[in-house]
Every structure is written in structure tokens, then in C-alpha cells.
């Protein structure tokens, strides 16, 4: 057997496991035939990856029901086999998969729920960084326009079309399940981690916009400029200060610099 033979052998067994095709390289065993032996790996593969996806999306599974979720997982697995070293990252494209799937037309909340559940988990084990305190804003007034802020690495900003967050919370709390529905208009949310606790909240449109802007390295001056789209110029400084105070108090800001 050459190294090329070994590579080919591995490809053949992998193909048998993924595609459920026959594997002819197994030794004929006593008592148990080669096909039954190969089937142990074939069956274990499906069950293991369905379980892994369920572990990453437990609320989506509960919302859909075990059988429907397993069918979804099989379809997803067939299109996107895992390429990560850890099953922790299996399902990174599930929300998009659901959006691309024809079921999204009849149940668009499934993709939102997947998105939400994935991002909550991502915030849970995102990088650590000490948040800044309000005292960091004690700078000379002329420096304020040039201030730039670094969001805490756990911050995730989402805009959802459905009441997926309500569904998520109801499942988490074991409460009565509201009816899944489209929202009248898309709703912005922020997810972040404070110490080790994952938090989230609804954001007003001006807040969602400016927090996104700060995450893109914009200055405080630019933030104030954009707030004029929502507020009278005279109200902008107070609104900007209030937003910053809220973000800092909540632990969503990890750094501030002045040019």
C-alpha cells in the first residue's frame, strides 16, 4: 500500500459514510459481515452531527420538534458537512441555509431564530476584554469630536423581521409560546456579554445605527452628524451623551481613543 493508496482508501470510506455507498475495502469479519461493520460508522455519523446541531440550536430544535429538526439537520449536513475542528462551530451557516430554503417563505422566523441562537452562543464565548468606565470620558471638550470607540468583542447587532426573539425567550423560560409572526417593521437588537452573562435588548433605530457606526471606527463627531437624521440639532448632544453613557454602563465599549 502506497501513500496514494492510503489517501484513496480514506476518500472511499469517507464517501461511504457521507453518501451511504458501499465500502469494499473492509475485511470480511467472522460473525459480523463487512457491510454491518461499515454501517456502524455511517449511522453514527448522522446521529452525531444531528446531535451536534441540536446542541448548538436547542431552542430551534424545541420550536420545530425533534423530527422536523432532524430532517433539517440531515439536509444541512448533506450540503455543509463540518469542516471545523470542533462541533462547536457546526451550523455556522444554518441561518443562511434556512433563508435560502423554500421553507423560509412559509416560516421566516426559523432563520431568525437560528441567527439569534447562534449569535447568543457566539457572545457567550467571544473574546474577553475589560469594558471602559464612564471616567474614560473625562477628556478636554475640544477632544470630544475626535473620540473613537472600540466595541466590546462580544457585541452583536442584528435586525430581525420576525418575533424570533420573543419565541426564543418563551422557550428559554418555558413560558406559553406566542404565535410566530412577521413584525410590522424590522427590529434592531444588540447582544453582548457583561462579565460572563449574555445580555440583549431592543434598540431604537438611531441607537442601532450609531452603535454600528462606532463599530466601524467612526468618530463621535460623525455619530452626532448622523443623529441629526432623527433629532433636532439642539437635542443631538444630549442624545449622543445619553447613548454613550448607556453603552458604557452596560459594558458594550472596550476602548476609547482620540486622534
Amino acid at each position: 500500500m502506497t501513500s496514494r493508496d492510503l489517501a484513496q482508501l480514506q476518500k472511499r470510506l469517507q464517501q461511504s459514510i457521507i453518501g451511504e455507498t458501499a465500502f469494499s475495502d473492509a475485511a470480511a469479519g467472522t460473525r459480523v459481515n463487512a457491510a454491518t461493520r461499515t454501517d456502524v460508522y455511517v449511522n453514527a455519523y448522522r446521529l452525531r452531527l444531528i446531535d451536534a446541531l441540536a446542541a448548538n440550536f436547542p431552542r430551534l430544535q424545541r420550536f420545530m420538534g425533534t423530527a422536523a429538526f432532524a430532517a433539517l439537520a440531515e439536509n444541512y449536513l448533506a450540503q455543509f458537512p463540518s469542516t471545523s475542528v470542533s462541533v462547536r462551530w457546526f451550523g455556522d451557516r444554518l441561518a443562511q441555509f434556512l433563508r435560502d430554503d423554500h421553507t423560509s417563505a412559509v416560516a421566516p422566523w426559523l432563520a431568525d431564530l437560528a441567527d439569534w441562537e447562534w449569535e447568543i452562543a457566539a457572545a457567550f464565548d467571544s473574546p474577553d476584554a475589560p469594558p471602559i468606565a464612564l471616567v474614560a470620558l473625562n477628556v478636554a471638550p475640544e477632544e470630544w469630536p475626535r473620540l473613537r470607540f472600540t466595541l466590546h468583542p462580544s457585541v452583536r447587532l442584528l435586525r430581525l423581521q420576525t418575533n424570533a426573539v420573543e419565541l426564543f425567550s418563551a422557550i428559554s423560560d418555558d413560558a406559553a409560546m406566542p404565535e410566530a409572526c412577521m413584525l410590522d417593521r424590522p427590529q434592531a437588537y444588540a447582544i453582548w456579554r457583561q462579565e460572563f452573562e449574555v445580555r440583549f435588548r431592543i434598540q431604537d433605530d438611531d441607537e442601532a445605527h450609531t452603535l454600528t457606526l462606532l463599530g466601524q471606527d467612526a468618530t463621535f463627531d460623525a455619530m452626532c452628524g448622523d443623529l441629526c437624521d432623527w433629532h433636532e440639532a439642539s437635542e443631538v448632544p444630549a442624545r449622543a451623551a445619553s447613548l454613550l453613557r448607556t453603552w458604557i454602563t452596560d459594558g458594550m465599549i472596550a476602548g476609547v481613543t482620540s486622534d
Binding site: 500500500m1 501513500s3 492510503l6 475485511a27 460508522y41 464565548d125 467571544s126
Partner: protein, 301 residues
């Protein structure tokens, strides 16, 4: 304080690849331990703190950027020696070695001051796919050379010897040229690595393939066995399946006695992956392992 300790650890690790004064590549044994599972975090840090001397950490679960999992690991590291046990090295794969994975493992091992790092004699996928299963290799001269060379590359990168664990298997290959024990014993010498013997896996594979597990033990080099796993399994028709979800079975305890006689007081732990009972139950099971080692010592005296 921790930083200083970490630097010393790194310099000691570098020296490990070289032969030690007494000629044995083995590291200092850690005694009796358990596989770390999240449901036991609180008990291990609270009511049962110090109940074992070491914990085996599932590497991939902690290859995350930050947050609570890594904080628990840091806190556990203050009370227990830690070793890393991986499932995704895919040392037997014909895909290129995943250097990014190795870099992450090296960083994790440094940050938690891991006493050693282990993974499995298997491959987990090719063409970039991870099947998340421990697939057996054909036991040929070719794969022996392939795996030995890759273990050496990993060891050079990590600056320390790896422990390689035998897996449970359900199929064998028509093209195999030697037994698993011949392969593993030769591999340890050629790669200059250490071995992690999973006695349940030996029992499962022995039953599934019809060999004598004692032949397996007797063939392995005594100076390479660094760690022992004890675990349970499930019968599925004619085959035993390595579920690691049940108490250690009686034949595996018998095998443990034989392993103790051959390899001496090797660091031993119970590995439960599913159907995980309260910590007390595992500690009681571990007590039996301690008893076996003690009675062997008494016999020797």
C-alpha cells in the same frame, strides 16, 4: 506568579523531547483523575474540591476565544493538574496537518499549563471535511511511516511528546499487514511518542475483531504507557459499541489488573462522555481503580 510558572513549564517541556537521565521517556505520573465535564464544574470547585489530583480536559471544548469556559478552566487549574485530550488532530489523515489547530492547542496547553497532550490513533476526515469520528487506519508499513512522521512534526511544533490513544473499531481493512498492537508498539518507538491506553477500547475492539486483549497489552512497550482510560460500552447485536456512557465493565476491570501488573502505577482516569452521573458516582468508581493499584502494590511487597 502564574506567568513565571508558565515560563518554567515551557523550558521543561523543551527538554522532554530529549532522553531523560534514567533513559525513560515517561513523564511523572499524576495518580488518579477524571475527565472534566461541565456538569461537574461547580462540585469540582466547591463541595468536592481536590477530590482527584488531575483532570483531563477535552481540548476542542476550550478552543474558544473567551468567556466562561476558559474562566472555569483557569479556576480549575488552580486546584488540579490538567492534561489536554483532543479528538481533531487527525494524525492518520492524508490531508495536510492542520497547523492552525496545532497553534491553538499549543496556546491552550501553555495557558492552562497542561502536563501533557493526547489525541487518537485515527483519522477524522479528508478533503477538509471533519466527520467528527475516530476512524481506524489500515495497519500497513505505509501508514506506520505516515503517522510516525506526522507525530514527529507535531511534537517538534509542540515542543513535547504526544500521547497517542488506541481507538475502538468496528471494521478492519482487507489491506492491513499487521495487528493493531504491533502497529501501535512500533509507532511509539518510531515516533518517539507516549501512549494512552484506553482499556475499554481494547476490550471493545478485541470483542469486535476476535483477538485476545492480553496479547495486545503484552505487545506494548512498558516505557511508553503514560496514561490509562477506563470507560464503559454498549452491546449492539454482535458488536460492542464504544459509547463511554456506562460504568466500567467487569472485563475492563480485569484488563486493568493486567495492565497494572505490566505497566505499573500508570496515571488512570475514568472517561464518561454521555449519561454522565453525579461526581460522587464517578469518584466511587475511581475508588475501585485506586483499590486495584493498592492491592497490586501490596502483592508486590
Amino acid at each position: 506568579m502564574r506567568r513565571g510558572a508558565s515560563c518554567q513549564q515551557a523550558s521543561r517541556q523543551k527538554a522532554l523531547i530529549a532522553p531523560t537521565a534514567n533513559g525513560s521517556p515517561l513523564l511523572s505520573p499524576l495518580g488518579f483523575g477524571l475527565g472534566l465535564r461541565t456538569v461537574h464544574y461547580e462540585a469540582l470547585l466547591g463541595s468536592h474540591r481536590g477530590c482527584v489530583s488531575w483532570l483531563e480536559v477535552l481540548t476542542e471544548n476550550y478552543l474558544v476565544p473567551g468567556g466562561r469556559p476558559l474562566d472555569f478552566l483557569r479556576r480549575l487549574g488552580e486546584h488540579y493538574s490538567l492534561v489536554l485530550h483532543g479528538v481533531s488532530l487527525s494524525i492518520g489523515s492524508t490531508d495536510p496537518l492542520n497547523l492552525e489547530y496545532l497553534r491553538q492547542v499549543r496556546n491552550l496547553a501553555a495557558s492552562c499549563e497542561a502536563k501533557w497532550i493526547s489525541d487518537h490513533l485515527c483519522w477524522t476526515g479528508v478533503e477538509g471535511i471533519n466527520l467528527h469520528d475516530l476512524l481506524p487506519l489500515p495497519y500497513t508499513q505505509e501508514s506506520l511511516q505516515h503517522v510516525a512522521s506526522r507525530i514527529r512534526q507535531c511534537q517538534d511544533y509542540l515542543g513535547r511528546r504526544l500521547l497517542i490513544e488506541n481507538v475502538s473499531s468496528y471494521l478492519s481493512y482487507a489491506g492491513s499487514e499487521m495487528s493493531e498492537w504491533e502497529f501501535l508498539g512500533e509507532l511509539a518507538k518510531r515516533a518517539d511518542c507516549l501512549l494512552l491506553l484506553d482499556l475499554n477500547n481494547i476490550h471493545v475492539s478485541a470483542t469486535n475483531h476476535g483477538f485476545d486483549p492480553n496479547t495486545y497489552l503484552d505487545a506494548l512497550p512498558v516505557d511508553r504507557v503514560q496514561q490509562i482510560h477506563l470507560a464503559g460500552h454498549t452491546r449492539h447485536g454482535e458488536l460492542l459499541i464504544d459509547t463511554h456512557d456506562a460504568p466500567v465493565a467487569e472485563p475492563v476491570w480485569q484488563l486493568y489488573d493486567a495492565a497494572l501488573r505490566r505497566f505499573g502505577p500508570v496515571s488512570t482516569m475514568i472517561e464518561r462522555d454521555d449519561n454522565i452521573p453525579p461526581l460522587e458516582v464517578l469518584l466511587e468508581e475511581l475508588q475501585r481503580a485506586r483499590g486495584a493499584a493498592l492491592s497490586l502494590r501490596a502483592d508486590a511487597a
